[in-house]
Symmetry: C5
Subunit: 371 residues, 5 copies
C-alpha cells in the first residue's frame, strides 16, 4: 500500500495553480490539464421535469425561472471563459469563481447576498483515496454546481428527482442543495470504514508480530487520517454555517434535514477520532514490542555467553602448556588419574549452577510477544 | 481477556446498516437479524396502573390519553413496518425513526415541537462489554421507548411504578423519562468499577513484572475506555440539552433530578479520566521497565565477559606452542617452577580487580524492578 | 512509601455505597461501618455564645433562631434516620441528603431556594493522604455541617467564635460558611508542600541515581497529584459558584473574603501544576538515564571485547598444532628465536592501537550520569 | 541546510534594539546598521497617477489630499529623525512609531482614531528564510508604509495601480491597504511549499534510511515551522481585527476581499499543521527505526555468538592437555580412531541445531527497515 | 549551573509564611528575616517635585494631597506594625495587606472601591534568577508601593520624574502606576534573552555531543521556563484586568500605554513558547542521540565479534589434541605440508567475506551523530 501510492498520497493537501503573489484578487488560472466543462440542466417542479445538456453557455439565461427549481451542473473546470460567462449570467462574485477554479479549497459557506456559495468535497477510493471539490451556488430558484471532472456521487439524487412523488420534487432549491451536500458527506462513510479495516489490521499485526515495515504503514494511515479529519471538520463547520446563518434562503424544514447531515459529520469525527487514537497508540506499541524483543534477544545472548565463557575458560586453562616436568606445582591436575572426568564434572557443575540461577531469576519465562 | 473478545470489542464503534450514499433521508434499512418487536404498555396515574402487551400495533392509538402517563416500550427493531406505523400513530419525524433503527447512534436530544427525541445507551458486562441503544420519545402524556432487544435495566423503574405511593406515580411523563435516563446512566457505574479493577491489576502487574502480554491488555483497556468515554461525554451533553432547552415538556422539579443525573455523568467522567490517565502511564512504565531490565541483562553480560575475556586470554597465551627449545626467549614462564601457580595468581588478581571495580561503580546494587 | 499504602491510595477516587441502578433518587444507603452521628451546636451573636451537644435530634427545632447565627455540626454519618430527621426539620431536599451520605462527592454548590448546599473536602496526612467530605447547608441564620467522622480542621474557627471581638461574632451565617470553606481549603497547603518535598526528592534521585524502584514512586506521586488536582479544581469551581450565583444569602463583604479564598485555590493549582509538570518530566528523565547507562555498559563491553577478541585470536593461532616437521610452511614462527616476544609485541601493538582508536573517538570521556 | 544557516535561523524570533527597562515609552532606538529611508509616493485616482521620489520629508505635507489615494512608501529605518518627522506630519502616536522602528513586531492592527496602524510581515527565501516587517498606516485618503529595507513583494500591486481600468484605481485607500496585506500573505505560500518539500524529503529519508544526521534536520524544520506558524497565526488575528473592528475606515466591499485574504491564512495554517504533524511524527519514526536496527544488530551478534561459543568450547575441550598416559579416564576420545570426525560431527550437529532453532523462532525473517 | 543553584531554584514557586489553617483572614505573619521598611516619598506636579525619606510613619498623613501625585515607596516588609499603620492611614483592606506581606503572590489586580490593589513581580539575574514582589496601591492622587527589599528597577522612572518636561510630570497617578508596571515587565526581557542563550547552547550541545550531564541542565531550563511562564501569564492577566475593569482610576491615554505594555507580555509569552518548545524537543533529541550511539556501539561489537569468533573457532579447532597416530582420520590437516598456510587462508577468506557482507549491508556508513 505504502510504496504504490506516493503519487496519490498528497491529493488532499496540495494546493495547485495559485496566482503569483500580489495578483489582483479573482485572477482565474485554469489548470491546462483539467477537462473541458460539460453542462447538464435539470429543471423541475412537482409536476414537470426537464433534462437537457447545454452546449452554448448563453442558452442558460433563458432556462432559469421556467421551473420552480433549476439545477445546472457543470462538470470540468478546463475552460475559464465559460465559467466566467456563467458567473456573469448568474451574477457571481469573482472571488467565488476564483475558489471554484483554484481547487482544492477547504469546505466553507459564504453569503453573497442573493445567493450562497458553498464548497464541499466528495471522496472516493478508486483505487486510491481521492477527493474532488464540488462548488455549489444556491439561489432562490436555482442550484449551480461545479465539479472538477465527470463522474460523481449524485446519481441517487438524480434518480430521486426522477420520482414525481419524492420529497425532492415537492421542495425548493434549498432541499436540493441539502441533498447534494448530504450525498457528498455520505461518501466519507465507506472511506472511513476502509480506514477502520486498515487500522484494525495494523493493530493486530503490531500486537502479534511487530515487523519494521509496519512503521511506514502506520505513518501513512496517520497522515491520511489527519488530512481526512481536517476535511470533515471543515465540512462540519460549513454545514453549521448554512444552518445558522442563511435563514433567508434555507427554510426551516430543510434546516432539520441539514441538522441530520450535521449529525453525520459528528459521527464521522467520532469514528475518525477512534481510528486516530488507535493509530497513535500503534507506534508506541511497536516501540514497546521492539524493545521487548531486544530484551529477549539480549537474554539469549547473555545466557549463552554466561554459560560458555566460564566453561571455555576452564577448557583453555587445561590447554596451557606449563612444563609439568619443571616442578610438581605446574598443572599437577593434568597427571591425575581422574583429572579429565573431574574437569568435566566441574564444567557440568558450573553450567547447571548458572542455568539454575537464571531459572530462579525467571529468565526462562518467555514473554508472549516474542512468539 | 484480549484474545477471547475480538468479535465483541468493536460493538461500541461500529456503524451498521447505513443506506447507500445519496439515498433519501429517512430510509429505514432494518437489520435482518434483529429481533421482532414486542410492545409492552404501562399506563398509570396516581390511582391506577394498567399493564398490557400489545400484539396489534393499531391498538396503540386507543390506549393513549386514558391515563395521565402512558409508557409504550418496544423491544426489538426487526420489523420496520411496525416501527413506521408507530411513528405515524405518534406523528414522529422519519429522521428520528431512522436513528431509532440505524443503531448505534450517539446519545443526543432533539426537539420535534410536540415531542422530544432522546437517544441514550445502556451498557452491560454479560460477559463482555456491550451497549444497547434506548430511543426515547417524550410527549406531554406519553413516553415511547425503543430497545434493540429484550432485557433491559428498567426493572427497578417498573417496580417503582408498581408502588402507588412512589413519586413516579404522582409525576408526569417527564419524570418517567428522567427515571429511564437515570437508569441507563446508572449502568455505567459497575462497568467503570470493573475497568477500575482491570486498571489496578494491570498497574500492579506492570510495576512488578512487566511481561510482554501486558501490552495488548493495556491497549485494549485504553481503547475500551476511549469508546466508553466518548459515550458518557455524549450522554452528558444529551442530559444538559434536556435540562437547558426543553422547558415546555420538562418541569422544574424534574429538572432538579436531571441535574443530579448530570452530576452522575460528571462523576463518571471523573472516574474515567483517572482510569485513562493511569492506563496512559502504563505503557510508559512498561517501556521504562523493559529498558531497565535490558540494562540489567547487559550488566550481567558485561560483567561476565569483562571478567572471563582477560582470564581466557591469559589461559590461551600459555597454550601457545612456541618452541622453548629454539631460544630462551620463547615462553620461559612455562618452565618456571611456579609458572602455573603464578599464572593462576595473575588470573585471580585480574578477576578480583575487575569485580572490585564493578563493585565500586555500583553495578552490583541491583534495582528492584528485576527481582 | 509505595508498598505501604495500597489500602489508602484510592481514598480519593473510590465511590462507595451506590444504590442499585434504577433505584429511586434520594435512596439513602448508609455505610454500616460509619460512626454514629454526634451533634454539636454553637449559637452566637455579637454578645452571646451558647454551646451545647444535642442528643435528641428533635431538640434542634427549638434552638434555631434564638441567636443571629446557629452552627449545627453533625459528626458521623452512621445513622440515616437521624440525618433524614434533620433534613425534615431544616426542609432539605432528599437529593442533597443523598449526597451527604454517599461520600465522597465532588466539591460543588447547589441552590435549593432558601438554602445553599455546599460540598467541600478537607484533607489530612495522618499518616497517609486522606480526604473527608464536609457537607454545608447555609440558610439565612444557620449553618448545618455534616462530617464523615470526628476530628476536623475547624478548631481555629471555634476559637475565633469564642472571641467576642472577632469579626466572626459580628457577622452573619454566610461569613461562618466562608470561614469553614476557607479552613478546608487551607488543609491542602501542607499536603501540597509534602508532595513538593517528595517531588524534589524524586527529582534529585532520578537525576543522580536512576534506580528501578523510582518508577513506582514517581507513578504513585503522579496519580496522587492527579486525584488531588481534580479535587482542588472542583473546590475552585464550587467557590466560584458561591461567589457568582448566590447573592441572596452571601453578602458583598463575605464575597470579598471568598474571592481571597478563591485566590488560594488558584495558588494551589499553580503549585500543583508545577509539581505535576516536574513529575511528568521524571519518567522521561528516568528513561533517558537508563538508556544512557545501557549505552555506557555497552561501551565497556565493546571495549573489552574489541581488545581481547583479537588478542585471544592471536594466542589461539599459536596454540594450533600444525606439524612443523611436515613442512617448513607449517607455523615456522613457533621455531623463531624471538617468536614469543614478537607475538607478545604484536598483541601489545593491537591492544594499544585499539585503545588509541577508542580514545580518539571519545569513548573514554565518561558521562556524569554513570558516576 | 542545517549547518549553513545558524546565523539566519533566528531572524524570526530575535528581538533587537530594546530600550533599557524603565525608559519612557516611545523611545526610538534605531538600528545603526539599518539602511537610510527612501521615500516613494504614488498618488492616484480613477483618472490620474502621479509617481515621485521624495528627498525632503517636509514635501510630504503638500502632497497629501491632491488625489483620492496617496501611497507613501518608506524603505529603510536607519534615520529615526525622518521617521519622527513623518509621524508628526501624519499625527502618528509615538508608541506606533516605536513599533515601526523596533522590528520585528508581531503582526497586529491597532486603532488610533483617525488612522489604523497595521503591522504585517513578508517572508522570502533568498536563499534562507527571512522575514521583513511592513508597517502600514491607513488613513481616510492615504496609506503610509514603512519597510525595513529596499526590495519588497509589492511590484504586482504597483503594476495594478498603473492600470487605469483596474479595480485598485477605482477604489479608496482601504482597498490599497488590503492589496498590500494580501501581497504579504501571498509570500507565505512559496515558503510553505518549500517546507512541504523538505518535510516530504525527510519523511522518505527517515522511513527508508534513518541516519543520525536526520535528527538535526528534523529539529530545524520543526523550529522553523513553529516560528512561521506563530507568525501566520498573528497575521490571521490581525486581518480578523481589521475586518471586525474598523468599519469607519474599511468599507464593506473591501471587507469581502479581506475575508478572502483571511481564508488564505486559514489555508496556510491548514498546510502548516499538516507539515507540523508530519514533522512531529518523524522523530518518533526515527527512534523506532533506530531501535529496530539495534534489534537486528543484536540478532546478528546473538546468532553468531550462540553458534560459535559452543563450537569453540568443544574445540577448546579437546585442546586440553590431560595426561592420557596417567589413566584411561583422561580424554580417551583423543585416541579413538574416529575421534576427530566424531568431534567435527558433534560441532556440525550443534551448529545445525541452533540454526534450526533460530529459524523456527523466525530470527531470519529480516525486517524491511534494515535493508 | 545546575549544581550551584539548588538553594535559589525554587524562589519562584515556594510559598512562605502561611498562617495556620483556619486563622482569621488578614492575619499578618511577617518573615522575621525580612528587612525593616524604609519609606521614600516623591510628591510632584508639572511644576514641583519634593523628595523625602520618612522615618515616622505618622508623617505620611500630612503629605498626601499637597501635590497632584504622591508616590510613597516602602522598601522592606520586616515590620508589620508599620505596614498595618500605613494601611490604616490609606484605608487599605486587611486582605490586601496580607498579600503584601505574604510574598510571593501571583500578579493580580483587585478593585477596592477608591483604590486598586496591583501585585506585580520584577525579576533579576544577580547572579541567579530571583523575583521580587512589588505591591502597588493606586488611588486618585497617590501610588503606594511595597517592595520586599532595597534595590529595584525603578531608577529610570525616578529619573523621568526628575525631568520637568517629561510626560510623567504632566500626568496623573495612573500614568505613574503604568510606568512602574512597565518597568517590572521590562525586567523579563534580559532574563528571557539569557534563557534563550542557554537554550541555544543546549540545543547545539545535544545535537552535536549528547552527554549525560545535559539531561539535568535541560530539565532545570524547562522547570525555570515553566515557572517564569506562569508568572508572565499572570502578569498579562493582571494588565488586562487593569485595562478592562478600572475605568474610574485609569484614564484613556494611560490605557493606550497599558495596551502597549500588554503587547510586551504577549511578546514575552511568544519568546517563552519558542524556548519552551525547543527545550521540550531537546530531551527527545537526546534520547534519539543516545539510542543512535548505542546502535553504533553495538555495530562495532557485532562486527568485531562476528569476525573474530569464527576465526578463533578455526584456530581452536587446530589446537585440538586428537591423536594423529591413532588413525589417519584424526586431524590429517595438521600433517599436510601446506596445512598452516591453508588454515590462514581459510581465516582470511572468512574475515574478508564477513567484512564484505557488512559493507554491502551498509554497516560502515557511519552516522554523523557519533563523530
Amino acid at each position: 500500500m505504502a510504496s504504490s501510492r506516493p503519487a496519490n498520497r498528497h491529493t488532499l493537501r496540495k494546493r495547485k495553480h495559485r496566482p503569483t503573489a500580489g495578483s489582483p484578487p479573482g485572477t482565474l488560472i485554469a489548470d491546462p490539464t483539467a477537462p473541458k466543462p460539460v453542462i447538464r440542466v435539470m429543471a423541475y417542479g412537482p409536476d414537470q421535469l426537464q433534462e437537457q445538456e447545454i452546449t452554448d453557455v448563453e442558452g442558460l439565461a433563458g432556462i432559469l425561472g421556467r421551473q420552480p427549481v433549476t439545477w445546472i451542473n457543470v462538470e470540468g473546470l478546463g475552460d475559464p471563459e465559460t465559467i466566467v460567462r456563467i458567473g456573469e449570467i448568474f451574477g457571481l462574485h469573482n472571488l467565488a469563481l476564483e475558489d471554484v477554479i483554484h481547487v482544492p479549497q477547504r469546505p466553507k459557506a459564504e453569503d453573497y447576498g442573493d445567493h450562497i456559495f458553498i464548497v464541499t468535497q466528495m471522496t472516493s477510493l478508486s483505487p486510491h483515496l481521492r477527493n474532488e471539490q464540488v462548488s455549489i451556488f444556491l439561489g432562490p430558484n436555482f442550484v449551480l454546481t461545479f465539479q472538477e471532472s465527470a463522474g460523481d456521487c449524485f446519481d441517487p439524487v438524480r434518480k430521486r428527482i426522477g420520482d414525481p412523488r419524492g420529497r425532492i420534487r415537492q421542495s425548493k432549491a434549498d432541499y436540493l442543495a441539502y441533498a447534494l451536500i448530504d450525498a457528498t458527506v455520505d461518501t466519507y462513510f465507506p472511506i472511513l470504514e476502509r480506514f477502520g479495516e486498515v487500522s484494525d489490521a495494523l493493530e493486530i499485526a503490531v500486537l502479534t508480530a511487530p515487523k519494521g515495515d509496519l512503521i511506514p504503514r502506520i505513518h501513512h494511515l496517520k497522515t491520511d487520517l489527519l488530512s481526512l479529519r481536517r476535511l470533515i471538520w471543515a465540512q462540519r463547520d460549513m454545514i453549521n454555517v448554512v444552518i445558522r446563518d442563511f435563514s433567508a434562503l434555507v427554510s426551516d424544514p430543510t434546516r432539520v434535514y441539514l441538522r441530520d447531515c450535521y449529525d453525520h459529520t459528528i459521527q464521522l469525527l467520532d469514528m475518525m477520532d477512534t481510528h486516530r487514537e488507535i493509530a497513535a497508540a500503534l507506534t508506541e506499541i511497536y516501540l514497546s514490542g521492539v524493545n521487548s524483543r531486544t530484551n529477549e534477544i539480549m537474554k539469549v545472548l547473555t545466557v549463552i555467553a554466561t554459560i560458555f565463557m566460564p566453561l571455555g575458560f576452564v577448557a583453555s586453562l587445561y590447554g596451557m602448556n606449563f612444563d609439568r616436568t619443571a616442578s610438581p606445582w605446574n598443572m599437577p591436575e593434568l597427571g591425575w588419574a581422574l583429572g579429565y572426568p573431574l574437569a568435566l564434572g566441574v564444567m557440568l557443575f558450573i553450567a547447571l549452577g548458572l542455568i539454575g540461577w537464571f531459572y530462579v531469576r525467571g529468565w526462562f519465562q518467555e514473554t508472549k510477544i516474542l512468539r
